[in-house]
Amino acid sequence: MTEKVSPIRFFDVFKLFVVFLAVQMGATLVMPVAFYYIIRPYFLFFAIATSVLLAYIIYMRTQHFELSYDDAGFSLKRGRTVETHRWKEFHNVLLVRTDGDFLVRLQDGESVNLPVSKLKLDPFSFRMKTLGFVEWGGRGIDRS
C-alpha cells in the first residue's frame, strides 16, 4: 500500500508572506502620491491578501515536499520536480543531520536525500523503515 506524506510547513509560508508584504510596503515609498491616495483605504487589506496568496503559490511551486512510498520504491516531489526511484537502486542508508534538519541519505554511486525533518517524519524510525525497504530491495525480492 502506498503511503503519502506532504505536510505544509506553515512557518515557511509565513516567511514568504513577510517578504511579499515587505516588498509591497516598500513599493508605497516609490509610488506616485496621487495613486497612493487612491489605493490607501484598501491598501493594507490588498497587501495582506495578495501576500498570503503569493506566498502560498510560491511555496507550493518551489518548496513543498511530497513523499509517496511503498515497499517497491518512492517518489519525492519538490515543488514541480518529481524524482522516482526504486529501493533496490540503493545499498546504503545514512541518517544525516545538517543545521538541525535530518535527512535520510540513500547511496549507491549517486545519492538521494529524503528530507525527513521537512516532511515532519521521525528521522530515527523512518530511517529504520527505509533500511528495511533497502534490505528487501537488495535481495532482489520484488514485492510490488
Binding site: 545514512l94 541518517l95 543531520r97 545538517t98 530515527f124
Partner: protein
Amino acid sequence: MSEDVLCVLEKELMVRGGRWVAEFRESERNHKLGDLTFDVCLRGGTRPKGLFLSRILSYFVLPNYQVACYIMKIPSSNVISPDFLRKRLLRIRERAKEEEFKWNWLFLVTEDEPSAKVTRMIEEGRGEEGILLYNHRSKSLFYSRNLLGKRMKACLKL
C-alpha cells in the same frame, strides 16, 4: 535486545548530550570495518554549525577534529577480553588513520551486569580511544578513565 537501545543511543549522541562532546552528523547502521561489523557508526566533527555568531565563535575557539563513535551490541559482557578489545581498537585505529579521525569511541552495549574483571578492563583502557560499556538493563555505564571516556560519560544521560 530490541533495536530501541541503539536508537536511544543514537538520539543521545546526535541530538542530546552527545552534542557537548562532538557534533555527530552522520549515522550508519551495520557498518563494516574489515572483518568486523559494528551496529552503528556515527561520524562528525568538533566544530558545530550554528547561526552567525556561534559559527564565528566555533571557528576561532574550537579545534576542527573529525570524530567517530562505533556502537556494538554484544550478547553478554563475558565475551569481553583483552583480545576482544584489542582487535576492535586496532580496526578503529586503522580507520582513524585512513580517514583522519582524531577522536574515536568504542561503545559496547550489553544486557547483563559485567563482572568486576570486565569493568576493570574497561576502566583501565588508557589508549587514545574512549571505551564505554553500557548495561541497558540496569542503565549503568562503565567507561575508560581517559579524556574521551570521561568526557563522554559526563555528557550522556542514559
